[in-house]
Structure formats: structure tokens, C-alpha cells
Amino acid sequence: MTLVQVSREGPPLVDRYREIAGEGAMRVLEALAYRLRGHRLVMVNSTDTGGGVAEILHRLVRLLEELGVPTTWEVMPGNPRFYGITKTIHNALHGHAGELSAEDREWFSETNRRAAEALALDGDLVMIHDPQPVMLAGLRRAPGQRWLWRCHIDLSNARPEVWDFLAPHVARYDGAVFSHRSFVHDLPLPTWLVPPSIDPLADKNRELDEEEERALLEPYGLPAGRPWVTQVSRFDRLKDPLGVVEAFLLARRRETAHLVLAGGSAADDPEGAEVLAEVRARVNGRPDVSVLALPPDAHRLINALQRRSTVVLQKSIHEGFALTVSEALWKRRAVVAGAVGGIPLQVIHDRTGVLVRSIQGCAYQIVRLLRAPHLRRRLGGAGREHVRDNFLHPREARDYLAVFARLLDSGK
């Protein structure tokens, strides 16, 4: 089964997003959808479960349908060897070691050829997500179709040997979309930047009542009487969890607080397990630090942790887009974050949060925010509005429709 059926449970998304994103934002989205009337969209990726791309497609496809733009979502058929190869490609595009043998390349190409036969691809606007189905544009382009490659991966450190294999296939598209300017690779086709977005209706972001929040947090025995300083992130050196501990220990000399470091359990990630062990060793025996290894589906718990925190940190030293920042801002939290990757788009220094570049800077800002409830409220309030205007799903849907409108205009 290649065609994904998205859930249509509950009230229309258009109405629910209108309540949150505002009448004006939805009116522009509706007007753009009207402009695309008569056209048909197809989304293609490699999975309908797990991961941010599948999450947004479940919402986006339903939203576009409700807006009157017929949209289907097809998942390319794969196999274990193909997924192994695409994992290598993914890692190499992120700059990690990885090579594709001639057999790997042939297997990748053959899987794409089979997908080209199996998929309907019966729209005049086709959006291919990420590298797995990248060859489809060259294999299945029909007259009058417009093909867009949506790359969610940071290509800035892509290994040339792998990128050189993909690039000729990308060149067959009419346009490409990246999440952030630093992710872009030089391409001989129009390239646009569409930042990712969060879903205000998802378990990770929706409002929680006090009862639910308490029930979610109770099992973890976190202290109720002290302000929490929290970082929710993978245990990855680039998220600098050890730097977070050092900054917190400096801040603790001035203010009472409790540090919560929450991230994936790292069961399938040897480096993550190593970092988690180092963090645990560093805070061993400290009653004012909690290290929580969470299961991958702990969305409501993360929501509750962020809402209950006084200060939320994202002290990364290298980042992709870091949507956890928008998640915290949406909950009106005071955010302290590293000035890297997509974070400065979300945190405007001293306006929607504060940006830091050092452990001392982070400690200083933690203390400053713990001591200043008015400042926290101001930053938190501005942060929520900034996310409402720029980082919710309706804005991402609007940008995609604008890209399609542009592609259609360019083909006239």
C-alpha cells in the first residue's frame, strides 16, 4: 500500500488552526489555496510513521484537502537493504563517514525505478521529500508537471562522494526547498528557504490542564518548591549537555534552582549512551539535578516539563533548526539558547529570549532570568507571538503553496 490515508478525526483543522494562528493568517492561506484551484498535489516520502517529515505530512495533507487543494501522499516502497543504504546516505550528507559501493548505488537506483512503477504520482505538482525518492523526477516526469525537492537535511557538510551521486538527480527538479540558509548546497535550479514549524495541536505542544500536568510529572519526583531549569534534547555532544551542567553549577552559586536534563534513552545510539553516562557521572549524587532518559513517545511528558520550567535551555554548539526552541517559546517560557543554526531565527536576543555563546554567558542569563519574573513574562509573551507569526504549521503550508504558485507562474 503506497497511498497514505490521513486521519480526519475531530473538527476540521482549518477551524482549529484559525483559533490559534488567527483569522488573518488563515485568510491568506485560503486565498493562496484558491489561487491553486484546479491543480492537484502529490507528496512523496519514504515512511508514514516516525520522524518529523511524516508528522507534518499527516497534518499538511489533511489541511490542504480541507482548503480545497486535492492532495495525496504516497510512500515509496522500500526494503531493508535500501533503508540501510539511505541511512548511509543520510549520515554522509550530515558529514559523517560513509561510502556507497557500486552495488549500493545500483540497489538504490533499482528501488527508485520500482517505486516509479508502483506510485501513481498523478498530480501536476509533485513534492519529493528528502533523498530516498530523489530519482523519481528523472524517471516519471510527465508533460506539464512541476517537481519540487524538499530537503529536510543540513547539506552544508555533505560528503562529496555521496552528494555527487545525488546531485544529477536533484538537478532534474524545477526547484528545491531547504529549511535554513546554512543547509543549502549549490544547485543549478531555483532554491527557496522554508523554515520548519511546530504543530500547536500536537501532544507535545497542546495546552495541558493542571491535573494532567501533575499526573505526568508526579512519577519523576521532581521538586515542586524550586524553579526548574530544563534542557530537553538528545544526549549528543553538539547539544552540549555537559556545558549545561557546568553553567547550572555556576548559576547555583547565586540562585536556588533544579536542573532537569531530559532526552532520549539513547538505547540505539552508542555515542548518546556514552554522553549520557558522562552526564550522570558529572552530576552523581547532586540532589539539585535530575537526568531523565525518556522513551521516544514521551511527547506529553516533554510538554509538561517545558510548561512547568522557569527557564528552558537549548545550549547547543552546533544545530540544525532546533524546533525545541519554538516549542518552549510557544509555551511562553524564558529561553536561553546557543546562537547557532536556526536558533537566532527563533530567539531574537533580549526580545523573544536570550542568546549565549559561552558557559559563563549561559550561567549569567540563567541567574538573570531566575531573578526577574517581569523579564521572563516579557520574553515569554513575545516568544509566543513570534512563534505564532512565524513557526506554526499554517505558515509552513502557506509557504509551500506560495512556492507552487511561483513554479506554476514560471512555467507559463
Partner: protein
């Protein structure tokens, strides 16, 4: 006379293919930057906080202040951006003037740290017709009062910026016989105001201009209807004052 349709706008951002590590490279980039890049980093930033009376600084002065950490030059750039609402070329000249006033050794004195370069982007406009059509000036203002920020931005800021000062919206108002209102809008829009202030002032002008007309209409109404309208107005005022008094 043809109806005037309100248009919203969505901006698609793309890399402009230029980057600067210091003020000298910023100067040479600004000298050849496409108009769409100048627009993206200065004028368009108003739409990122469309409801804010104090919108964030333009990208250029923010970078000079935050990354190069030359706050005096950042101030001058912010002023140049604020005062050159007339279009891309006057803005380019004003920005180059600020940077040319610095000695070359100052312009190259401080490099951005790795990853902190100013990467120039360009913003392409995708106009979105709203289907809201005005046939008379008063209808236009009623529609504008309910229109979202990008409609205001497109008609009052973006179109004249790229069109050498020409605003199709005020041109239409003049043709419809509302020349004084059109002049007022042109004056207000040239003040480089944040969007909420622009909206308040333009609608305020219109409402004031309506007072005379309403008065003239009221004089022609029967005494009892005028009294009733007066009572309703006072009741509305009292209700607003009470609501205001109850705010925390």
C-alpha cells in the same frame, strides 16, 4: 470606474549568493546586492512581527551590532534604513554612505566568527488576491480595517518601494475623488511606521474625515432618531469606560 481589489503577499526567501565577514565585505556586497536582497534585510523585516509597535531591528544593523559589535555603525545603519523608505537605490546610497565614512582599517578590523557571516538572502513576492473588492473609497477603508497585515504591507509599503513611490491604492482613491485621503495615506506611509501604527493612523484619518460627513447626514435626520443615536453613543462610551476600568 474599476473596483480595487486588496492583495495580500507572501515572501519566498532564497539565498542571494553573497556573504560578508566584515564591514568591508558588507560594503562591497551592498554595492551589488539585488534589490530583492536589500528589501529582504530591511523593509520586509517589518512583516516578521506584524503586530508589534516596536518591531525588531533590520537584519543589517542587527548583524553589525550583534556580530561585528560596532554599535555606532549599527545605529547609523538602522537610521539609514528607517529614513530611506523611498526605494532600493536611495537606501543603497544611504547604506554605502555610512560604510564609506568608516576608514578602511575600521571596516576590516573585526571579522565575524566562523558561522557568523552575514549571508545575503532575497525575498521574492507572491501576491495573493484576496477577492475583497472596493467600489467606493469608504468601502476600501472598511475592507482595509478588516484586512491582515500583509495587505497593508503590500499596498502601502512594498508597492511604492519597488515602484518609485507609486501607490496603486492611493492612485485609485484619487481617481475615485478622495484626493485628500490619498494624500494623507501617502504622507503617513512615507513615515516608515511599524504596521500597527500605520494602520491606526490611516484608519484614524479616515474616521476623522467621516465625522463631517456623518454630521451632515445626522442633520438631515428627524429629531427623535438623532436623540436615539446620541443615547446609543453615550451608552457605548460608558460601556467602554467600565470595561476599561475593570482591566487588571
Amino acid at each position: 470606474m474599476e473596483a480595487f481589489e486588496l492583495t495580500a503577499v507572501v515572501h519566498l526567501v532564497r539565498p542571494a549568493g553573497m556573504a560578508a565577514r566584515n564591514l568591508d565585505e558588507m560594503r562591497s556586497s551592498l554595492a551589488r546586492a539585488p534589490e530583492r536582497a536589500l528589501f529582504c534585510h530591511t523593509v520586509q523585516s517589518l512583516l516578521r512581527a506584524p503586530d508589534d509597535d516596536d518591531p525588531p531591528a533590520d537584519d543589517l544593523s542587527a548583524w553589525v551590532n550583534g556580530v561585528v559589535q560596532d554599535s555606532e555603525t549599527a545605529e547609523r545603519i538602522a537610521y539609514a534604513v528607517q529614513s530611506q523608505g523611498a526605494g532600493p537605490e536611495p537606501l543603497r546610497r544611504a547604506l554605502l554612505e555610512v560604510l564609506d565614512a568608516l576608514p578602511e582599517k575600521t571596516r576590516i578590523a573585526r571579522d565575524a566568527p566562523e558561522g557568523g557571516e552575514l549571508v545575503f538572502l532575497a525575498a521574492d513576492s507572491v501576491p495573493v488576491p484576496t477577492g475583497w473588492e472596493a467600489h467606493r473609497p469608504e468601502e476600501l477603508f472598511e475592507l482595509l480595517a478588516g484586512a491582515e497585515a500583509s495587505v497593508w504591507f503590500y499596498h502601502l509599503i512594498e508597492q511604492p518601494w519597488f515602484g518609485a513611490g507609486d501607490r496603486p491604492l492611493t492612485r485609485w482613491l484619487r481617481e475615485a475623488g478622495a484626493g485628500r485621503l490619498a494624500d494623507g495615506i501617502d504622507e503617513t506611509a512615507a513615515e516608515a511606521l511599524p504596521l500597527p501604527a500605520l494602520r491606526r493612523r490611516v484608519l484614524g484619518r479616515w474616521r476623522r474625515s467621516e465625522l463631517g460627513r456623518r454630521l451632515a447626514r445626522a442633520v438631515e435626520q428627524p429629531e427623535e432618531e438623532r436623540r436615539e443615536a446620541g443615547r446609543a453613543a453615550v451608552a457605548g462610551l460608558v460601556r467602554r469606560l467600565r470595561q476599561g476600568g475593570e482591566e487588571p
